[in-house]
C-alpha cells in the first residue's frame, strides 16, 4: 500500500511537471493562468493538458495489457508486441490511414482483434491453449502484419503518418483521443481489479485454477480480449511504443509483489509514469525523436538489468 501511495504521488508530480514543460517556455504562473483561460490557454489547455493525459493513459493501458498478457501466459516476457497484437493493431491503423478513413480506433481494434483470433486459432489444441503455441503464433502473425505494413509503406502515400504510427508519438494528442483512452482505462482497470482474486488463482497454473473452480478457458478469453482492446486503443492513439508493457509490470512486481489487487494498480501507475517521463524527454532533450526510441533508450537497459537481477 505504501508503494501504491508513493507511485500515486509520483504520478501527480510528473503530470504537473509535464504541464510545466514545453518549447513555449511558459512560467509556472503563466501555466496556471493558462489553465483558467487567458493568453496561453490554447497552449496549456488544448496542447499540453491533452498530451499529458493521453501519454499517461496510453502508458497505463500498455502496462495493464502487458500485465494481463503476463498473467495469461504465465510468462514474464509476454507483452503486447510479443503476442503480435500491437502489430495487428498497427496494421489496422495504417490501413485506415492509407484509405484516409478517420476511424483509426475502430480499424486498430479490428486489426488487433483479427490478429488475436488468428493467433488463438493457430495456437489452440484439443487440450486447450498451450503457452508456447501462443507465443510462436503471436510471433508469426505479428511478423506478417509487419510485412503487410511494409507493403503499404512502399506505396509512399501518407508516408509520414504511417511512420508516425510505427514510431509512436504524442504530438497529435487531442481531447477527442483522451476521451477515448481515459474512460476505457478506468473501466478496464475496475473490471480487472474486481477479478484480481481469480487472476491470482490463474497464476497457480491451469490445473490448479481449474481445481479451485475457475473456468480457465473463459477467463483466458476475457483476458485476451481486454488486453487486446487496451493495446489497440494505445496503438491507434499514439502509435507503437515498446517496452512499457514489459518494463512497467516488472517494476510493479518488484515493488508490490504478484498479488493482482496491488500489482494491477502499481503496474498501471508505473506505465503512466514511464510514458510521461519518456514524453518529457521527447519535448526537452530529444525534440523530434520518436517516442518509441526514447522509451527504448530507457527501457532496454533497464530490462537487461531486470533480467540479470532475476538470473542472479
Amino acid at each position: 500500500m505504501r508503494w501504491i501511495a508513493a507511485l500515486l504521488v509520483a504520478s501527480l508530480a510528473l503530470l504537473c511537471a509535464s504541464l510545466m514543460i514545453g518549447p513555449a517556455g511558459l512560467s509556472m504562473a503563466q501555466v496556471m493562468e493558462g489553465l483558467m483561460g487567458g493568453e496561453h490557454t490554447t497552449i496549456v489547455r488544448e496542447l499540453r493538458l491533452p498530451r499529458t493525459l493521453l501519454g499517461f493513459a496510453v502508458g497505463a493501458l500498455l502496462a495493464l495489457a502487458g500485465g494481463l498478457y503476463q498473467t495469461l501466459f504465465r510468462n514474464p516476457l509476454a507483452d503486447p508486441f510479443v503476442v503480435g497484437v500491437s502489430g495487428g493493431a498497427a496494421l489496422g491503423a495504417v490501413i485506415a490511414t492509407v484509405l484516409e478513413i478517420p476511424a483509426t480506433n475502430v480499424f486498430a481494434f479490428g486489426g488487433g482483434l483479427a490478429t488475436m483470433l488468428v493467433v488463438y486459432r493457430l495456437a489452440s489444441t484439443r487440450q486447450g491453449l498451450p503457452v508456447v503455441n501462443l507465443l510462436l503464433a503471436g510471433f508469426a502473425v505479428g511478423t506478417l502484419a509487419g510485412a503487410l505494413i511494409a507493403i503499404l509503406l512502399a506505396r509512399r502515400q501518407n508516408w509520414e503518418r504511417i511512420m508516425g504510427v510505427l514510431m509512436g508519438h504524442l504530438s497529435d494528442a487531442t481531447w477527442a483521443r483522451v476521451a477515448v483512452t481515459a474512460p476505457l482505462l478506468l473501466v478496464m482497470f475496475a473490471v480487472m481489479w474486481a477479478l484480481s482474486r481469480r487472476l491470482d488463482i490463474l497464476t497457480l497454473g491451469e490445473e490448479g485454477a481449474h481445481g479451485l473452480g475457475v473456468d480457465v478457458e473463459r477467463m483466458k478469453r476475457a483476458l485476451f480480449f481486454a488486453a487486446t482492446l487496451a493495446t489497440a486503443t494505445a496503438v491507434s492513439n499514439c502509435g507503437i511504443v515498446g517496452f512499457v508493457g514489459l518494463v512497467a509490470p516488472h517494476i510493479a512486481r518488484l515493488l508490490v509483489g504478484p498479488r493482482h489487487a496491488v500489482f494491477l494498480p502499481a503496474a498501471l501507475l508505473c506505465g503512466g509514469i514511464f510514458l510521461t517521463l519518456a514524453d518529457i524527454g521527447v519535448r526537452t532533450v530529444f525534440p523530434g525523436v520518436p517516442l518509441s526510441a526514447v522509451a527504448a533508450l530507457v527501457g532496454a537497459p533497464f530490462f537487461v538489468y531486470l533480467l540479470r537481477l532475476r538470473n542472479r
Binding site: 513555449a24 517556455g25 497552449i43 511512420m163 508516425g164 514510431m167 504530438s171 523530434g288
Partner: protein, 266 residues
C-alpha cells in the same frame, strides 16, 4: 481538378473586404480572409521557397525541419519534420500558416482548431508554381519574382529530337518520376520524352533497359550504382547527376531545373 481550383483561386482573389482584410481562395477551395500577414509560418520546403520568391521571406517566423533553402531559411526556428511541434508553432504567434492540403490535411485541420489561419498551396506544374508565387505576392502585397519566372518560362526553347529520358531519385529500389509527375512536366517542356507514364513508380532496372532511355537523370548521390548496373554500357545512355531538391520540390527552383534540363537534353 487542381488546375480548375487554381483558376478559381486566381479569379477569386483580391475581393476587398473592409477592415478584415481580403479574401483569397486556397487549394482546398476554401475562402480564407487574410489581413496583411506579418508573422508567417511555412511547414513545406517548396512553399518556403515560394514565399522567398514572392519577396516575403522576411515575414517568415518559423519553418519545417526540411526547409533549408534559401540560406536565410536555415536561421529560422524549426517546427518539426515527421511530427509538427504545435506548441512551438503557436508560441511564435503566426497570423498565417502556409501548408499543403495534399500532404497535410490532418495538420491543417488541427491548426485551424487551434485558432491558426491556414492557407494551402498545392501547385502540380511549373506554371502552377508561378501562379502560386504571384498569388503570394498579392497576399503579402510584395513585388517578387513571378514576372521574371514567367518571362523565363516563355523564353524556354525546348531541345530538338525528342530524346528518351529516364529520371530516378532513389537507387535501391529504383524510385522514378514519370510523365504524370511535375518532373514529367519539366521533361516534356524541355523537349524530352519521359519513358515512364505513372507519376512516381518504383521500377525494375530490367524494365528501364527495355525502354532504352538516351538520357538518364540521376537525382540522388549514388550515380556509381547506376553505372554499375548490368547492361549500362550497352545502353549507351548519357548519365547526368542533378540536384534532387531542384527537381523534387515543386517550388520556384523548378525553373532552374527546366533550364538545366534543356541544356542537358541538347
Amino acid at each position: 481538378m487542381k488546375r480548375l481550383l487554381l483558376v478559381i483561386l486566381l479569379l477569386g482573389c483580391e475581393r476587398q473586404v473592409p477592415k478584415h482584410g481580403r479574401e483569397f481562395v486556397d487549394s482546398r477551395g476554401k475562402t480564407v480572409v487574410i489581413a496583411n500577414p506579418l508573422r508567417v509560418v511555412s511547414i513545406i520546403p517548396s512553399i518556403t521557397e515560394m514565399v522567398y520568391a514572392a519577396g516575403a521571406g522576411h515575414r517568415l517566423v518559423g519553418v519545417s525541419d526540411y526547409c533549408d533553402y534559401p540560406e536565410d531559411a536555415r536561421a529560422l526556428p524549426r517546427l518539426g519534420g515527421t511530427t509538427l511541434d504545435y506548441e512551438r508553432l503557436l508560441s511564435l504567434k503566426p497570423d498565417l500558416v502556409l501548408s499543403s492540403q495534399s500532404l497535410h490535411r490532418e495538420r491543417n485541420e488541427r491548426l485551424e482548431q487551434l485558432g491558426c489561419t491556414v492557407f494551402t498551396l498545392d501547385p502540380a506544374t511549373l506554371e502552377e508554381v508561378i501562379q502560386a508565387v504571384a498569388l503570394l505576392e498579392k497576399i503579402f502585397d510584395t513585388r517578387g519574382r513571378s514576372e521574371e519566372l514567367r518571362r523565363r518560362l516563355a523564353s524556354v526553347r525546348p531541345a530538338t529530337g525528342e530524346p528518351r529520358v529516364f529520371f530516378e531519385y532513389g537507387a535501391g529500389p529504383i524510385y522514378a518520376a514519370g510523365r504524370k509527375s511535375h518532373i514529367g512536366d519539366i521533361i516534356a517542356r524541355a523537349g524530352g520524352r519521359n519513358v515512364l507514364e505513372d507519376a512516381w513508380p518504383v521500377v525494375e532496372w530490367e524494365k528501364v533497359l527495355t525502354l532504352r532511355p538516351q538520357i538518364v537523370l540521376v537525382a540522388h548521390h549514388e550515380p556509381d550504382k547506376v553505372r554499375g548496373r548490368p547492361g549500362w554500357a550497352e545502353l549507351g545512355a548519357k548519365l547526368c547527376v542533378v540536384d534532387p531538391d531542384l527537381f523534387l520540390r515543386a517550388g520556384p527552383r523548378l525553373m532552374d531545373a527546366l533550364e538545366l534540363t534543356v541544356r542537358l537534353l541538347q
